[in-house]
Amino acid sequence: MMVQATGVRKAFAGQEVLRGVDLSVPRATVTCVIGPSGSGKSTFLRCVNHLERPDGGRILVDGEPIGYEPYGRGLRELRRRDVARQRRQIGMVFQRFHLFPHLTALGNIVEGPVGAGRPRAEATDEAMALLDRVGLADRRDAYPAQLSGGQQQRVAIARALAMRPKLMLFDEPTSALDPELVGEVLDVMRGLAADGMTMLVVTHELAFAREVADEVVFFDEGRVLESGPPERILTAPDHPRTRDFVKRVL
């Protein structure tokens, strides 16, 4: 298992957002998380690279507990630099891209590897290959403000891939895009999945989930209500709430 989460809980100011999430992502598979807004999908995703601290439960990535280490009879939070080391193996793509606006496309991609101590020349070569892979080799010197939303998100994916992650997290990667730009980002993600990348994707693109996902997980009120192969979850779910949601979104 690449990701193994058990009983993950999280509350914001007394408001329970995650109420015991169990979820596993096998190696080299794509898991799509769907569900109504406010159901805790994004919060859960952010717990997987410790951008959010879970209040309880356990998240293992490639067998390693994320953000905490065993201490006495409990767990204690890791030092920042250890959390940073764990995060380097987990790529993250945000809904609103969060590219660094003062750096070029190439600069954005190179920043992570160079920060991790790789030689700049080597990181630049690899960044060029990644830009080529997301179809933006000719935009290497463009600043984010000079790129369309779809192009920015593709640079953001390349930036995450530059860390050579073993797991990629996508937090509604197409929700902030104009409809005609969604396809180019989904194409890149399809290519990644075909290359065997392990992916955990929070999305509203049910067509994408049906086509690419090995497993679809339906979140509702901070819990996994049901999960299974996309054909079943998206066409004949067990639970009426899932049926309702799928009918409304499709």
Partner: protein, 275 residues
């Protein structure tokens, strides 16, 4: 449809205003030339004199050194203020409270007369023998007192400017850097501060220009910067106005240079903000 030419609207108000302003400016220039009490020959005689030049140099040194102290300490105080360490936050808050809350003039005098308070300087920690024992006046010279007064005070103001700049950067930037596993120092240096600069530079430019003229306060310590150097001259020659004009010309000249420098700095840090 036939293309119609665009005709500029006439703006008679602007013409009238231009005429009035030119009239007033003309009157001012005329009085500058014809009023002998401006003493332009005296101004010319003293403008590049050794006394004034050395005063100007001191003013520039004080401004640069005080701003340098202020910036280094200001960044540290801003980071402490934003840290999740309660002690650091409180210390920074108390520093800013003290140095912003008392007049700079008082702080300058305090540093100037520190030997009245502590004739010798040594550090006494509980359970340890005292460290160092030197006469205060040999360490805190007039120059040191002026620099401490200006620099420490400036740090309190710059800390708030820098903090505001850091806070203005979208939190998503920090999250993106964290998700890449960048260290805290690198995130600050490579991601946050370059973006904060756009917000920080204009008020820091303002502070620098303000500091240039605030240095004249150190004349209370009998330290000879630009203003005090011309005061020394006119106290002997009684040519008060011409010598104040000499000082003003230099303050204006340096301010102009600082403005130009600020323009290029702003342009540098605006990278990526335009299409």
């Amino acid at each position: 449809m036939e293309e119609l030419p665009i005709i500029r609207r006439r703006r008679p108000g602007q013409w009238i205003l231009t005429f009035l302003v030119l009239l007033l400016a003309g009157a001012l220039v005329q009085s500058l030339i014809t009023n002998p009490r401006f003493g332009w020959d005296t101004v010319g005689a003293w403008l590049f004199s050794r006394t004034v030049m050395s005063g100007l140099l001191t003013t520039l040194e004080l401004t640069a050194a005080a701003m340098a102290i202020g910036l280094v300490l200001g960044v540290a105080l801003a980071l402490m203020r934003l840290s999740d360490n309660t002690v650091a936050r409180t210390v920074s808050w108390a520093y800013i409270w003290l140095f912003r809350g008392t007049p700079l003039l008082v702080q300058l005098l305090f540093w100037g007369f520190i030997s009245a308070l502590y004739p010798t300087l040594s550090l006494h920690l509980p359970f340890l023998p005292p460290i160092g024992d030197v006469p205060a006046n040999t360490v805190i010279t007039t120059f040191a007192a002026a620099l401490l007064g200006l620099g420490l005070n400036e740090a309190a103001y710059l800390a708030e400017i820098i903090r505001a700049g850091i806070v203005s950067v979208d939190h998503g930037q920090t999250e993106a850097a964290e998700a890449l596993g960048l260290s805290r120092a690198r995130t600050l240096r490579r991601i946050i501060l370059p973006q904060a600069m756009r917000v920080i530079i204009p008020p820091v430019g303002n502070e620098t220009i303000s500091m240039l003229k605030t240095t004249s306060l150190v004349s209370v310590l009998a330290y000879t910067e630009l203003l005090y150097s011309v005061q020394i001259v006119y106290s002997k020659t009684y040519q008060t106005i011409p010598l104040l004009i000499v000082a003003s010309i230099w303050y204006l000249a340096v301010t102009t240079l600082l403005n130009i420098g600020q323009h290029y700095l702003e342009r540098h840090f605006a990278k990526g903000s335009h299409r």
